[in-house]
């Protein structure tokens, strides 16, 4: 039975329904009397809404109603919130413009909704939407941060003069300046972290139902955190009371962060269901996903690193501009600050760091957390800088990293984070061996003979997962705690349900969480059912993002299991007439150690529920809950090496080898971990080579479909070589660190470093498309 516990490659329980088409997604929800919503969206990046005439549309076949932004205002529906308060250097609070779910007077990005048609069918709603006349007065738009910060630039929000949300800093400016003044060498780098569109396979969707008699709402929605959605919808948006709102996030087809946030469409669907007294469904199409799902990344940075004569880092100075788009999305403020700048120490001993981050409004889709959320931007900056430094200082890039690695733990960085454990040298050694680093010059020469340019790039990333100690994030401005909850219910027949506040939307929780329980009791994973995603079933929980569900969610289950086992042992001891301290749990039985006396779990469970023969004073039942609040972040880290070949005729980059060595602490299910790494690597490689959301100067999206926005396909990525080194995380009972984002965090810099190695210069930005690489090759030839 041990084979199904922690560390076993158990096939994913949930895959039977997914691969046979039996998953149940929001759009699969059918309710009698269902109506369909279609949003009317701004074609302009910036415009005043002068008027909306829906009179003709309201008379069209099948139309139930046309609801406009003004009605939201009249109903006192709250504006969207940003749940993390970040202050500027001067202590002033961030400057937030109001974001109504539909825009009553001004639209600020292409795709922002101004009205919604509710009709009997989706097609009738679309027909009627064409008959709604919206009069706009176009305003000048700013689509880039440079344009937004220029003097005399069009202003998005009166609350944010100069289009600046905040001008934030972390670290010690003076100490850092002093360190630079003593430097033997200073290496500097300008870089852009390209804007990405999350593109979860399932678009966002909502089915909202209002029960008039009970004054009760039910919302099925594509959420990574249904309880947070319920809290925000009730406490801030004033749509429904928390105890009168059930939020269900059923099977969800991918999130990557984009389904953390509570968006206008879901909120409007809920409000509309009461307004029209009919259930309302909205399912976004791919175009709406491109236009309205929160985008990711979009930084422009200047970074400088100071070294002493021994190539030891003396300090790091960073100035970053972060594009927030037109509005502050739910956790946007924290992404380029506390989730980014706190990781700028990388895997290295850096005595002092000073980082400034300016948040900027532009007339583009809002930007928020996307797989890695701030940490990919940090690792991209640090690792590009390390590679650049190695070349400038003429040191082997592996060696430069090694001489600066943190080797003593715990390690307090100058930017809040305290690394608990790690062995960065071990991961790098394993990666060097796997890639055959010594053989690279010969491979490069061979490629050259064949007319190809070969390059090798490193990335020694670190990230912070297990988000997060509630008190710590509270002190930094977070509006919520980031603990997790669990309840373990042993049924009278000995089967088990685990109710978790985590939410699985591709991560395989139904398998891994069951492995924890099964392993502890010595039973089959089939005896364990994981329940999640329904606020009526599950106690309040915080959801899944930031690679937190193993480190935080499973730790809560662990705590609840300890309580269940303690009670079960008492019952078993009583029934076996043994001492509680002598009871051990093996193969689904409670045994008296050193004897052949035993009682099976179902008999203990039955005894708990019949309550005929329990120890004096014991309550019946076998069900325990726990909340787990982590004491620290966890710090997954690893070494990635990418080897590329460039075709100089076309500029096409082929990844000929990719080695990933990760330290995730204890692995619950190595097969699922490898899958997570593969997916993350593909997304990071997508960012490096293919993906990039582009707007023209008027704020019109240029890449709003898969015809122009290049997602990685199977033949764009190599066969990854994935392995692990292990230091167990001391901060949680399972020793786990988290693996969901690492691939996306660590891979982009490895790819670009390999390309710059092959090019022989640094002038290339992501995505390194064939066209851009070819242009970079011409630059080099012109220089020669």
């Amino acid at each position: 039975m041990g084979v199904e516990g922690i560390g076993a490659r158990v096939a994913r329980k949930e895959d039977k329904r997914f691969i046979t088409g039996r998953g149940r997604y929001v759009d699969d929800v059918k309710i009698v009397g269902l109506t369909h919503a279609h949003f009317i969206r701004s074609p302009h990046a910036h415009a005043k809404v002068k008027g909306i005439d829906a009179s003709a549309a309201k008379d069209m076949p099948g139309v139930v109603d046309v609801l406009t932004a003004q009605q939201l205002v009249d109903d006192k529906i709250g504006n969207l919130i940003c749940g993390w308060a970040v202050s500027s250097k001067d202590g002033s609070p961030m400057k937030m413009g109001a974001w109504p779910a539909m825009a009553p007077d001004t639209v600020r990005f292409v795709g922002q909704a101004v009205a919604v048609v509710i009709a009997e069918t989706k097609n009738q709603a679309k027909d009627a939407a064409e008959a709604v006349v919206v009069e706009y007065e176009e305003l000048p738009a700013v689509s880039s941060m440079t344009a937004a910060l220029a003097s005399g630039a069009p202003q998005l929000h009166p609350e944010a003069p100069g289009n600046v949300v905040y001008d934030w800093s972390i670290g010690d400016e003076k100490l850092t300046k002093d360190a630079f003044s003593k430097a033997a060498n200073i290496v500097s780098l300008d870089l852009t972290n390209n804007r990405l569109v999350p593109n979860a396979m399932e678009p966002r969707a909502a089915v909202a139902e209002y029960d008039e008699a009970e004054e009760h709402f039910t919302l099925h929605t594509t959420s990574q955190n249904p309880h947070v959605a319920r809290l925000v919808l009730s406490a801030f948006y004033n749509v429904a009371q928390e105890h009168k709102l059930r939020v269900i996030a059923p099977d969800v087809g991918g999130g990557f962060g984009s389904k953390i946030f509570i968006y206008p469409e879901e909120m409007v669907a809920l409000w509309a269901s009461k307004k029209v007294r009919r259930p309302v469904k909205w399912t976004g199409d791919r175009t709406e996903a491109f236009l309205t799902d929160a985008h990711g990344r979009d930084h422009i940075s200047h970074a400088e690193m100071a070294f002493d004569t021994n190539n030891k880092i003396l300090g790091l100075r960073v100035k970053t501009h972060a594009n927030f788009g037109a509005y502050m999305s739910l956790f946007s403020s924290s992404v380029p600050t506390y989730l980014y700048a706190t990781l700028l120490s990388g895997q290295y001993n850096i005595p002092t760091i000073y980082a400034e981050v300016m948040g900027v409004y532009t007339n583009t889709t809002p930007v928020d957390a996307y797989r890695g959320a701030g940490r990919p931007e940090a690792s991209y900056l640090v690792e590009r800088l390390m590679e650049t430094s190695a070349r400038q200082l003429k040191v082997d890039p592996a060696e430069l990293r090694r001489i600066n690695f943190v080797t003593q733990f715990p390690h307090q960085t100058p930017v809040i984070m305290a690394y608990d454990i790690g062995d960065f040298g071990a991961s790098l050694d394993a990666a060097l061996k796997a890639i055959d680093y010594a053989g690279f010059p010969a491979r490069k020469a061979k490629a050259k003979a064949a007319g190809k340019l070969r390059g090798l790039g490193f990335s020694c990333y670190i990230e912070a997962c297990g988000i997060a100690p509630s008190k710590a994030v509270g002190s930094l401005g977070a509006g919520v705690g980031l603990w997790e909850s669990a309840e373990v219910r042993v049924n009278p027949v000995g089967t088990i349900e685990v109710l978790t506040g985590s939410h699985s939307h591709g991560q395989g929780h139904e398998t891994t969480f069951a492995q924890l329980v099964a392993g502890r009791l010595g039973i089959s994973v089939d005896q364990v059912q994981i329940v999640h995603g329904d606020t009526d079933k599950v106690q309040f929980g915080m959801g899944t993002y930031g690679s937190r569900s193993a480190a935080v969610g499973m730790s809560a289950i662990f705590k609840a299991m300890e309580k269940v086992e303690a009670k079960a042992k008492k019952i078993a001891a009583h029934l076996l007439e043994a001492s509680e301290g002598d009871i051990v749990i093996e193969n689904g039985e409670f045994k008296v150690t050193g004897t052949d006396k035993a009682i099976a779990l179902p008999m203990v469970a039955l005894a708990a529920y019949t309550a005929h023969n329990l120890p004096d004073g014991m309550e019946p039942g076998l069900k325990e809950g726990a909340f787990y609040d982590p004491t620290n972040f966890t710090f997954p880290a690893g070494a990635y090496i990418c080897e590329v070949e460039i075709d100089p005729g076309t500029g096409k980059v082929d990844i000929v080898d990719f080695v990933a060595v990760d330290d995730f602490g204890r692995l619950i299910n190595p097969m699922i971990v490898e899958g997570q790494v593969h997916g993350g690597l593909a997304q990071g490689i997508g960012q490096a080579l293919l993906e990039g959301a582009v707007y023209d100067d008027n704020g019109q999206p240029v890449t709003a479909s898969f015809m122009d926005y290049a997602m990685p396909r199977a033949d764009d990525v190599p066969s990854f070589r994935v392995s692990h080194t292990t230091t167990l995380c001391p901060g949680n009972p399972l020793g786990v660190k988290g693996c969901g984002e690492a691939g996306a965090i660590g891979s982009s810099p490895a790819v670009i470093n390999a390309i710059t190695d092959a090019l022989g210069h640094n002038r290339i930005e992501m995505p390194a498309t064939p066209g851009r690489v070819w242009e970079a090759l011409q630059l080099q030839q012109a220089a020669e």
Partner: protein
């Protein structure tokens, strides 16, 4: 999608008669362009007349002089055709790198040529091989067929029934795929006819759709080898420039793809 009426005629004549009856109709072949555009409500044909199931429009035959591919033959069937492989392997190769498997099972050669997307692959083959387009009313020379972006010599009601490719002495195709769409960022088809004429056509590069490339034709006429193109300069004037490639990059690709196509042709 707006409401439309779908027809599945059994013959070319029946299809043409249906079209005559419904002036707002559109012919449907593989549907890779028309259906997405209809879904986006950017096209609203009253009637859709499906040509893909007309038996007399499906099939491949080769004579000693020509490879004749009927218009509703799918890409997949072309990639599997022994006759096509033997007659003009470059056409089979071109088809094998067109789109992805799902596209190849559904798309048809007639639909691609009639649509004349400026980055489609087949127009390059038609132009370089000097193919003849046969319709339900006439024959049109490949040289006269393509008339700029999404524009052809076809009348509204006219149906391509087959394409006849003269069998060349040598032919090759090379394509740089568009990273997102997998259309040709630039594709070049090179051919040497049995009479020694050299014809080269590039797709995906020009602002006006598929085009001949005289500079490359001249160089290859003098010396049929990839090396003969080393010194050739292709002007970037009139070439497309977008986020996936500048006009200069596409000019470079015309030369590089031509060289690779020559190498493939042997």
């Amino acid at each position: 999608m707006y409401e439309t009426t779908y027809h599945r005629p059994a013959s070319i004549d029946e299809a043409a008669a249906l079209f005559a009856k419904h002036p707002e109709a559109k012919y449907l072949a593989g549907g890779h362009t028309l259906i997405p555009v209809m879904k986006q409500r950017l096209a609203a044909p009253s009637d859709v007349i499906d040509l893909a199931k007309i038996k007399e429009m499906i099939g491949i035959e080769a004579t000693s002089d020509a490879l004749i591919i009927k218009a509703a033959t799918t890409y997949y069937d072309i990639t599997q055709s022994a006759a096509a492989k033997k007659a003009i392997p470059a056409i089979v190769y071109l088809t094998s790198v067109l789109g992805d498997p799902a596209v190849r099972y559904r798309g048809t050669i007639g639909g691609s040529i009639a649509n004349n997307d400026p980055a489609a692959d087949y127009p390059a083959a038609v132009l370089a091989l000097g193919a003849t387009i046969k319709t339900n009313t006439r024959e049109i020379k490949g040289d006269d067929f393509f008339q700029g972006l999404f524009s052809t010599a076809l009348e509204d009601n006219e149906i391509i029934t087959s394409v006849s490719f003269p069998i060349p002495a040598k032919a090759g195709y090379a394509k740089m795929r568009h990273p997102a769409s997998r259309f040709a960022l630039t594709g070049v088809f090179v051919a040497q006819t049995k009479s020694g004429e050299v014809r080269v056509a590039a797709t995906g590069a020009s602002q006006n759709g598929v085009m001949r490339v005289p500079a490359i034709e001249a160089a290859l006429k003098a010396n049929w080898s990839a090396g003969a193109l080393d010194g050739v300069k292709i002007s970037a004037d009139g070439l497309m420039s977008d986020i996936h490639g500048s006009a200069e990059y596409r000019a470079n690709l015309i030369k590089v793809m031509a060289q690779r196509a020559v190498e493939a042709a042997g």
